[in-house]
Amino acid sequence: MKLFRTAFGAALLVACLDHAAMATTQNVIFNGTVTATCTLVVATNGTMTVSPDLQSLSSHNSGGSAGTVTLTTTGGVSLSVDPVTTTTAPAADSTATTWTPTYSTSGAHTIAETGAATALTIPGADLVSVHLAGTKGGSNRFASGNYQATVTLRCE
């Protein structure tokens, strides 16, 4: 009888231990989907200065500065600039100006200065420098006064 009680107790203990061990091996599964994303944050606008011959008004000229934008993307998007359509010029400037927007990036993607669309295939963050140059041909010159232009930087 004593042997029976000992055997029964041992069997019960093993059964309990086995039950407790099963309860610790359940898996919890997490799923997540990241879709193609792009974030642009304009940090600074640009400044254009005029060249000594008064035929160039550009952020490349001495004293000028590029606009800066931070870009964060998952990749699978493209970056581009639009032709400049919105400008203001002083009334004294009645001659045509050719505006050329360009950009370059440093960071996860290194893009040399360009005006064409560029594919961003890998994820990462970049600092985008946006330049704008206005030029006049022939004998035309920039007039004194305030100029303003808007560059559209697109991520799509």
Partner: protein, 130 residues
């Protein structure tokens, strides 16, 4: 009422569940099946800045010509780090399928010599099912 039901069905069929996180616009890609002469897309523009901004939503075709779509709301203020849903209803204009860009544009800071307009565009493909 019938139109609303059809529109809801088109949305449910065409788009997966979308999370509205702090992004400039989500989703940026999508394919929608519709049983009417329009298709609908819900996008979530977000403000990544630490200040309130004014946001405009525009719809363009593949050649960046404006599309006469219904956008609700088309222009709005967005609080810092906030996001909100925008419903865009695009007409097929008789075509069996249509590709459009839905763009979120931030309004540039005023009084700067060279202003930068940030534009995030998503590409969406609508299929008309008969």
């Amino acid at each position: 009422m019938k139109y609303a039901r059809i529109l809801a069905t088109a949305l449910a069929v065409g788009l997966p569940t979308i999370a509205a996180e702090a992004q400039s616009m989500s989703p940026m890609r999508g394919e929608v099946n519709s049983f009417t002469d329009v298709f609908a897309v819900r996008v979530f523009p977000a403000n990544p800045y630490d200040q309130k901004i004014k946001v405009e939503i525009h719809v363009y075709d593949q050649d960046f010509q404006p599309v006469n779509a219904r956008i609700a709301p088309g222009t709005f203020q967005l609080a810092a780090q906030a996001s909100r849903p925008v419903l865009v209803v695009v007409p097929f204009d008789g075509a069996a399928e249509r590709k459009v860009r839905i763009c979120t544009e931030s309004i540039p800071f005023p009084n700067q010599q060279t202003q930068i307009r940030a534009q995030i565009c998503g590409k969406f493909f609508g299929h008309r099912k008969f």
